[in-house]
Amino acid sequence: MTIKSVFAGFGGQGVLMMGYMLALTAMRQGKNVTYLPSYGAEVRGGTANCTVVVSDDEIASPVASSPDIAVVMNNPSLLKYANLVRPGGIMLVNSTLVGSVVNRQDLNVVKVPATDLAHELGEDRSANVVMMGAFAQATGVLSLEAFSEALAETNLGKKPKVLELNRHALQVGADSARQALEAARSAASK
């Protein structure tokens, strides 16, 4: 199985770090993986994105023209990727900063107020980690435990205190996604 994911948002939101976390975790789980960042004139406050392909087979192209999963951290990213995700795909939306509505019935949209949740945790910068917790919960590509374990290898886990905070942030994101999915399910069954 091959899963292509894109992560997009403002430069500074840790968008590339999210892709790196997925790629690293997938590698540690024995998967084939490619990570391709947008490169060039990227600046803090500009747009940034990266594409991660996780597969059990050899990966042909690290580029995704129609990704299975899009994680959008801000409004411009939503506008860019809303029409690209393949039918039946998953869109994870940072609902704190994304006001626009996804006008597609063939997508599984999961809204997580990642920026707000990170603020409540007392660390605004952890919004990307919160979102990765939601990613694990909503997509099932890799388990939350696998992400939590791989976190220790990244800059997000260099100090024990920071690692603990980020592991907590993963859990908070996963819980939020679970609630969002349950709410959507009960709304659909009514």
Binding site: I59, A60, S61, P62, S65
Partner: protein, 369 residues
């Protein structure tokens, strides 16, 4: 050693250090800036020398100096920067000095853009600078292969006293993939060089010159180079094939476009199309002979490049009219998807009636392609 998730440009740097590279001279340009970034820190750890020169010209001349003194030396750049280095590369070839030159190709001509491209194939394989010379050119298709070929590049450069070029592209440089590195090369274990200029105290003087004014002398020097290139062609031609055994159509592609083609081939194989891949890993020496042998069996070749048609000329020379050679390319830094290539493949496949059994397998279609 465990697999590491590394960006191509960083993997290149680590592989170079492990191959014994202790000297790096360069000048920044996207999309290869992570090479000097990595080398600036890493060479310090192993007691090497890193210089960010004032220009590409300065850096390639520093490479000449370090190589003359016997060091394993590397420089890297991207297309416009590689053009600036050509004079020095010609000198390296003329002086018979080993060096590794990396081109993480971007879209051209001119300043172009910073997107991945394969439009420097001509420049790399024809020499690039003035004079009758060749660089050995290696084309990696993944981060692991980039690591492996970098180590090989240093060995080939020393073995043949010749510049070796790694021809990657922006995608190979920027992409992260798992990489496994070999152990550090023991510098003392490398073959001794009996030609270096390190001070003549206690031994007869040596000179290394590329100015040979007497045409007879220069002609002999050129013939010596030709003999060397013949030896390289015999021993170092490198290529890979994939599902060619029963193929009626073979895609010829290198580097990034080869892995995209492989994805496309997997798709069309699911639809029952008998398509294979021929991937040159050494662009010079080009795998002329194996391709000629293949064209005796497979009459249809589709060359796919991220340019407007360069390697296709070498393919035509190799098959020498024995097979139909068709070309598909995307220039300007566009990276096509496997879907797009799969579409091109099936379009050609059915157009040439390759789905039919019997003599149609070798039928010529549509005049000259």
């Amino acid at each position: 050693m465990a697999r590491q998730l590394m960006r191509g440009n960083h993997a290149l740097g680590e592989a170079a250090v492990r191959a014994g590279c202790r000297y790096y001279f360069g000048y920044p340009i996207t999309p290869q800036n992570e090479v000097p970034e990595y080398m600036s820190g890493r060479l310090l750890e192993v007691g090497g020398t890193f210089v960010q020169a004032e220009s590409e010209l300065a850096s390639i001349n520093m490479v000449i100096g370090a190589s003359m003194a016997g060091g394993r030396v590397m420089t890297s750049s991207s297309s416009p920067g590689i053009s600036l280095k050509q004079e020095g590369i010609s000198y390296l070839a003329g002086l018979e000095l080993p060096a590794v030159i990396v081109n993480m190709t971007r879209g051209g001509p001119g300043l172009g853009n910073i997107a991945p491209a394969q439009s420097d194939y001509f420049q790399a394989t024809r020499g690039g600078g003035h004079g009758d010379y060749r660089c050995i050119v290696l084309a990696p298709a993944s981060c692991q292969e980039l690591c492996d070929l970098t180590i090989k590049a240093f060995d080939l450069a020393d073995k043949y006293r010749n510049p070796v070029m790694i021809l990657g592209d922006g995608m190979i440089g920027q992409m992260m993939e798992p990489v496994e590195f070999p152990e550090m090369t023991d510098l003392a274990s490398l073959p001794a060089k009996d030609w270096t200029l390190t001070g003549a105290a206690g031994r007869p003087q040596r000179t290394i010159l590329s100015l040979l004014l007497d045409p007879k002398v220069l002609e002999n020097h050129n013939y010596k180079l030709v003999r060397k290139y013949d030896a390289v062609t015999l021993a170092e031609t490198d290529w890979d094939t994939y599902l060619c055994e029963d193929a009626r159509l073979v895609i010829v592609a290198f580097g990034t476009s080869a892995r995209i083609a492989k994805g496309a081939i997997k798709r069309v194989r699911e639809m029952g199309l008998k398509v294979g891949l021929f991937r040159p890993k050494s662009l010079w020496p080009f795998p002329t002979k194996p391709l000629e042998e293949l064209s005796r069996v497979v009459r249809h070749l589709l060359v796919f490049e991220m340019n407007s048609g360069q390697m296709v000329e070498d393919v035509r020379l190799a098959v020498n009219g024995q097979a139909q050679v068709h070309f598909y390319g995307r220039p300007g830094g566009v990276v096509p998807t496997p879907e797009e290539i799969a579409h091109q493949i099936s379009h050609y496949y059915y157009g040439a009636h390759l789905n039919e059994d019997g003599p149609s397998r070798a039928r010529l279609v549509g005049g000259l392609s």
